[in-house]
Symmetry: C2
Subunit: 209 residues, 2 copies
DNA sequence: CGGTGTGAAGCCTTTCACAGCA
DNA sequence: TGCTGTGAAAGGCTTCACACCG
């Protein structure tokens, strides 16, 4: 099968499948069934097969999937066979944490710059990076061909910083600020609102059962 | 209308509406239409009205909604009129950032303990808290009636720490580790996987248009 | 025989469009 | 008149169930 409209939920699951396949590969497992993948992720096996079917036929009937082969397909599907350059804007606690976070320094992703407008933070070392002033943002994005901007500034500054990132040429924004951002339609935007997550837990705890 | 099965997407939007209403209230706005809320959040006005309709009739036809009144309803719906006690397990960069993050210290949420098993981190001060050893986890959860556990340990420790939290009596877990956690069905679980977010951006950048 | 790939069915969410009411 | 509240329609995602094939 081949398709252009892939559900977001499918993309999220695919990246989780890929994570599980890495674990299996490390264990030396060579073959896996959709049922086994499903069980380890907590979804149905039909879901796994449908998700994969958007992109091709990767399995062998009666057998299952070859782990390393499927992993290769998923890597390509998710675009992880190319490098993505990242700039983090906002070197507060959260931005600093992300800058040195290992999960953000995986194969395929490279943090190229950390920016802040607070003179006290500029010059600070974060792993192999140095916090640079806001004025450097546009040049850094252009020099390093930054594709992804991560916004970890306070809500009041979020839209302004986003506009700078967009004008400088990033293609995607990962927004950690509690603000609804306006971006042009051609920009890929994802929001990771930490306090919204707590509120969803609060709701579910209140209405449990 | 009244219902028991509320879509998760609705709950997420409700907490964003509540955030926008706070902004309006601070500006002194008294009345708002579903269209205005929708515009500020980036959804359709029918969506806003449907979301609210799960819980009651809060508006006035021909007029709209009274800002403070609707805010009161949303606060109650989301369970933010009660206090939720939080324990953060894992005082690495991310856990520490969350411990002092203002968005996590809003009305309704109180961080009661920060736990880590690394002796070098135990005793460290984080805002008004002190990092405590893993052995204290169960007691702290019980003493402070902790409802929500936040997991910010490495993947290898995530399931063990989760089991401890569940056994100690938390009702909900917010998981920041890149691991699929197994929890009993009565536990509310949410995953905030930072690297999955990057991978979703990667996918969308690769397949844009 | 066993597990994939996939139409079809079922379910859930969103959008439409308008009746109803202040 | 204007905007809410809501059935009905549309659209999208998940599950079912089985043909198909190694």
């Amino acid at each position: 099968m081949k398709a252009y409209k892939i559900p977001e939920a499918t993309v999220i699951r695919l990246s989780i499948y890929s994570r599980q396949l890495h674990l299996l590969k490390d264990e030396g497992v060579e073959t896996v069934s959709s049922e086994e993948i499903a069980e380890s992720v907590g979804v149905s096996s039909a879901q796994v097969r449908k998700d994969l079917a958007y992109f091709g036929e990767f399995g062998t009937r009666g057998v299952g999937y070859r782990v390393d082969e499927l992993l290769g397909h998923l890597t390509k599907i998710l675009g992880l066979d190319q490098q993505w350059n990242i700039a983090i804007v906002g070197a507060g606690k959260l931005g600093s944490a992300l800058a040195v976070y290992q999960g953000f320094r995986e194969r395929g992703f490279a943090i190229k710059a950390v920016i802040d407008n607070d003179p006290d933070r500029v010059g600070q070392r974060l792993a192999d990076l140095t916090v640079e002033p806001l004025e450097m943002l546009t040049n850094r994005v252009k020099d390093f061909r930054v594709n992804i901007g991560i916004v970890t500034v306070p809500a009041s500054a979020a839209q302004a910083v986003t506009d700078l990132l967009v004008d400088a040429g990033v293609g995607a924004i990962l927004n950690f600020s509690p603000r609804v951002l306006k971006v042009p339609a051609y920009i890929v935007l994802r929001n990771v609102d930490l306090s919204v997550n707590l509120k969803v837990l609060s709701f579910n705890l209140s209405y449990r059962r």
